[in-house]
């Protein structure tokens, strides 16, 4: 029996924003799966831990031309410039408490290593990282529902979406136990994906052409000729990534038929969008 490690995975998601209803199931499923605590007042969204956060965007027009879209935002598991694994957060952490998994593409977070300098939070433009400002506390008896797969975090450290890494480990262990080389698409699905009542989230291996996520995204394996930092750009014109032109190379892709939604994924100078809107998603040169 051997474990297959010769082919690197690149786990990622594509979220269909036209299907997303903003219902919040993914948020709660994530909290419940990952032992995320809660406190009395969670209405200050800037200190409320939600690994999966759902943004509400509007097209900025007035009644009755207003439109809304919801944008679920887990950690983007950025591959960093050129997709070399130097994610904005990983490259800055002084204690290697957050790391890039070259075999999975997953950006990890080691709570017992983190000493709470919060530099990684400053580095992440997606606000995907959360600091434990308080000790986690559960009402009496409620600790009974905590899952042993994920350790509850202590005060003073940073946490974030792990792509439900423990689910990957469990799937890998089973495959290993059964003497299989690799896991199947359905064996490793994140808690937000399986919870979504609208089926808006598709999760899988972006490197595996048999996986749905690959088929929808059709990632371009070559660096974008217009911006060498960008790798894995979608060849589906309806698919885009958040802040793609920064070169963070997120592994979360978004899908929408609506142009204003795709445009909201990045920042554009006047007139830029019209020039590139039909060029796979949208990115401009950085150089």
């Amino acid at each position: 029996m051997k474990q297959n490690n010769n082919k690197a995975h690149k786990f990622g998601m594509v979220i269909d924003l036209d299907k997303c209803t903003g219902c919040g199931s993914c948020m709660v499923s994530c909290m419940s799966e990952n032992n995320v605590p809660f406190k009395e007042d969670e209405s200050n969204k800037k200190d409320s831990i939600t690994w999966m956060s759902v943004y509400k965007l509007t097209n900025g027009k007035s009644f009755p031309d207003t439109q809304i879209v919801y944008m679920p935002r887990p950690c983007q598991h950025c591959g960093g410039k050129g997709d070399h694994g130097h994610s904005p957060c990983v490259s800055v952490c002084p204690a290697v408490a957050t790391d890039y998994g070259y075999d999975t593409g997953i950006v990890s977070q080691i709570y017992t290593r983190c000493f709470g300098c919060r530099y990684c939070m400053g580095a992440c433009p997606y606000h995907a990282r959360y600091f434990n400002w308080w000790d986690p506390k559960w009402p009496e008896g409620m600790e009974n529902y905590l899952s042993p797969d994920v350790s509850p975090r202590m005060r003073g450290v940073v946490e974030k979406c792990s792509f439900c890494y423990h689910r990957y480990q469990a799937a890998r262990d089973i495959a290993y136990y059964e003497g299989r080389d690799d896991i199947e698409e359905h064996e490793y699905q994140t808690a937000c994906t399986t919870a979504c009542p609208a089926g808006a989230i598709v999760f899988g291996d972006l490197n595996n052409p048999a996986h749905q996520v690959h088929q929808i995204v059709k990632p371009d394996p070559h660096p974008d000729p217009r911006n060498k930092h960008v790798v894995g750009k979608s060849r589906n014109p309806k698919v885009f990534r958040l802040l793609e032109r920064l070169g963070t190379n997120p592994k979360i892709y978004y899908l929408s038929e609506r142009e204003w939604v795709r445009k909201a994924g990045d920042n554009y100078l006047d007139g830029e969008w019209d020039k590139i809107k039909n060029y796979h998603g949208a990115t401009l040169s950085n150089d």
């Binding site: 199931s25 009644f63 042993p148 509850p152 009542p197």
Partner: protein, 709 residues
């Protein structure tokens, strides 16, 4: 050895130096960091064997299948059950957060008895004896009909046991809270006859014309609706949403048609008028119309011509014509009623007018249309044997048709209309309009028995609480009552031993019945509720216990049904919002909150936007044009004929000018700081408006004024 100052110093310095060069310092540093990784106040979940159990969620009428992951005896995660006929994987946030209800700080942990203002613990035996004693007294006084019961629904075995107890006791006064299911039945009764209900085949329809139905806001069976909506684009189906606010459903729809609130019935009739005038209706279908079809046709041509309808509703005449044409020409159109979640106040005029559209285009009992069929009766309770007191009491008239009428009677009458009230799975003191007067009515009832699992607003008013298991601790049949195209019964199962000293409400009812002795006890010969369920569910029990669900009906029912439009033909008045202020306050349904009796879980509350709830302030939505001078995130005072409230302002371009939206589901007063005392209950600000002819509380909103606080 002589210890002098010099050797003491030397020794001391030596010791310090020794410690400094030894590994002690490094060890202590390391230990201290390890200690921070194992703080005793941070829980360490215990590991164990992983198993999965299937069950069904009964937090809402959706009845989704669930898969519960357990570590040894502890459930640790709830997820939607793949391949379940209702939800096929996926679950809403409330179901997923279900475990939080199990350990909710507001749970009633033992039977309680009110003494003065406080509750005291009592034993189950004493509690049952006390309730039975009270009931015996009522029966002795000769008015058994003065025992009333308010439950969430009519269907299901536990509701069946309550109804059986009332009937054999001698009372017709069984009430349910308003729900989409109850409106489906009311509508079906008005148009097609008693005992019928309606289901909508959303997943096959190619044109859904929704009159404010919150298809992705929790209407019907939420997860099922989400799925039907998500597949819409792939099926090339269209959704047109008629609503005064840009709800999530409106935002997701192919077209949003803003409308003046409360005029949906008028628009539906206006669309009927266009269909009739332009001969877009199905001639065959009109053959099924009874009760004054011609009268209706004449009336709507006169009163609901496009220009007139446009004036009433604010929807352009050209749009009305366009919608009518699209709807009538679609292959499988369906018109859907039930604003928001469909369980709020509705008028029969609106329900009937919308459903008449379905009847006109002849989509009744066709794929992708509306299914009209008799209510499913899957339980077989043995016939009741009643003594003469029961016969006499049961044959009396109910105090009112709907629960709001009961409340009104209790409040108006100087003599006690109700001597004892059972409340099960319902929280009228929170969910009904004008909650203050509901509380007053409940307060007037001498003996109130709550079967609530939580110390909710109504349980607080009770004299005795017989706490139920939560859905994770009990066995029960859960019929889907939600306008689904198919009719499914699920089985919820105990996935954990009861956490507290609670009882299945079914068992509590059986115990009470047995304590009442005589003919009543004879009707409850089961030892336990579980035994009762197995016997009454006879026909489907095997399927229920093996698959976890039973499908009662699926696909379009065969045959046509008669349509009686006499109620509409008289053109009943459209309900007006109470009061004469300039603006209209409407309740908003938000998927992340629950507007039924239970409060949203801490997790669900955590997901609620700060544009809905900020600290303990509720945030209301208002168009900037209407807000005149009020600042975004500033405070304002709302005044309706029912009361005033301090609110925060959210300027929202998605609101039609002239209306203010306030979310439902906040302002609970449970003893759970994570979910309570946040915002206000919109039902406190809205009073009931009774529709003459139907008796329904049809208050879609209320007139309001707003000023800077």
């Amino acid at each position: 050895m002589k210890v002098d100052r010099r050797s003491f110093l030397g020794l001391g310095l030596g010791a310090v130096a020794g410690v400094a060069v030894s590994p002690v310092g490094i060890k202590l540093t390391d230990d201290s960091s390890i200690w921070t990784q194992n703080w005793p106040w941070t829980p360490v979940p215990i590991d164990g064997e992983v198993t999965y159990e299937n069950s069904v969620c009964s937090l809402c009428p959706g009845s989704c299948g669930l898969s519960i992951r357990k570590i040894d005896d502890r459930p640790v995660k709830i997820e939607g059950l793949a391949e379940h006929p209702v939800n096929d994987g996926g679950a809403c946030l409330h179901g997923i957060a279900g475990l939080q209800y199990l350990y909710d700080p507001a749970r009633v942990k033992t039977p309680l008895k009110k003494n003065g203002d406080k509750f005291e613990k009592i034993s189950w035996d004493d509690a049952i004896a006390l309730v039975a004693g009270k009931l015996v007294d009522i029966r002795k006084s000769g008015s058994p009909e003065k025992l009333a019961c308010i439950a969430d629904k009519e269907q299901g075995s536990v509701s069946g046991l309550f109804q059986r107890l009332l009937k054999t006791f001698g009372s017709p006064n069984f009430y349910t809270m308003p729900s989409l299911e109850s409106y489906l039945e009311v509508t079906a009764e008005a148009l097609h006859g008693e005992g019928m209900t309606i289901g909508f085949d959303l997943e096959n329809s190619d044109f859904v014309l929704s009159f404010g139905a919150g298809i992705i806001e929790g209407w019907g069976s939420p997860v099922n609706c989400f799925k039907a909506n998500a597949s819409r684009r792939a099926r090339h189906a269209k959704l047109y949403q008629i609503e005064s606010r840009l709800s999530n459903t409106a935002a997701n729809a192919d077209k949003w048609i803003p409308i003046k609130p409360g005029t949906e019935a008028d628009l539906a009739l206006g669309i009927c008028a266009v269909i009739l005038k332009n001969n877009l209706f199905n001639g065959g279908a009109t053959a099924n119309f009874r009760g004054g079809f011609n009268k209706l046709a004449i009336m709507i041509q006169k009163d609901y011509a496009p220009s007139k309808t446009a004036e009433i509703t604010g929807v352009k005449a050209s749009d009305i014509e366009k919608i009518a044409t699209l709807f009538a020409k679609a292959k499988m159109p369906v018109a859907v009623f039930g604003k928001g979640r469909g369980d709020g106040a509705q008028s029969l005029k609106e329900l009937a007018a919308v459903h008449t559209l379905n009847c006109l285009v002849d989509n009744i009992n066709k794929e992708g249309g509306a299914f009209v069929q008799p209510q499913s009766e899957y339980l077989e309770f043995p016939d009741e044997s009643m003594d003469s007191i029961a016969d006499a009491g049961f044959s009396k008239n109910k105090a009112g048709r709907y629960v709001n009428q009961l409340i009104e009677k209790v409040n108006e009458s100087s003599k006690p209309v109700v001597e004892a009230l059972f409340v099960y799975n319902a929280n009228p003191c929170y969910s009904l309009h004008d909650s203050k007067s509901v509380k007053q009515a409940i307060g007037k009832i001498p003996f109130v028995v709550s079967f609530s699992s939580f110390l909710d607003e109504t349980a607080k008013e009770a004299d005795i609480i017989l706490p139920s298991h939560t859905f994770l601790e009990r066995l029960e049949d859960v019929p889907s009552c939600a306008g689904l195209a198919k009719s499914v019964v699920g089985l919820t199962k105990p996935v954990i031993d009861p956490v507290f000293d609670t009882k299945h409400a079914g068992d509590a009812v059986i115990l009470i019945a047995k304590a009442l002795e005589g003919s009543i006890a004879q009707n409850f010969e089961w030892e336990t509720y579980d035994e009762c369920l197995e016997s009454v569910a006879g026909g489907i029990w095997d399927s229920l216990s093996e698959d976890g669900y039973a499908i009662i009906s699926e696909g379009a029912p065969s045959g046509s049904v008669a349509v009686n439009v006499s109620f509409l033909a008289d053109n009943p008045a459209t309900i007006q919002a109470q009061g004469d202020y300039e603006l209209t306050l409407i309740p908003i349904d938000n998927m992340r909150l629950i507007n039924a009796g239970i409060a949203a879980s801490p997790f669900a509350i955590k997901t609620v936007s700060d544009k809905v709830l900020k600290g303990s302030d509720i945030v209301v939505e208002i168009n900037p044009l209407t807000a005149k001078g009020l600042k975004d995130r500033g405070y304002a005072t709302l005044t309706t004929p029912m009361g005033t409230a301090r609110v925060m302002i959210n300027l929202n371009e998605g609101m039609m000018p002239g209306i203010i939206g306030m979310v439902e589901g906040l302002g609970h007063t449970f003893d759970n700081k994570y979910v309570s005392n946040k915002g206000i209950n919109v039902n406190d600000l809205i009073g009931p408006v009774i529709e003459s002819g139907s008796g329904l509380d049809a208050a879609f909103g209320i007139k309001v004024k707003i000023s800077k606080a």
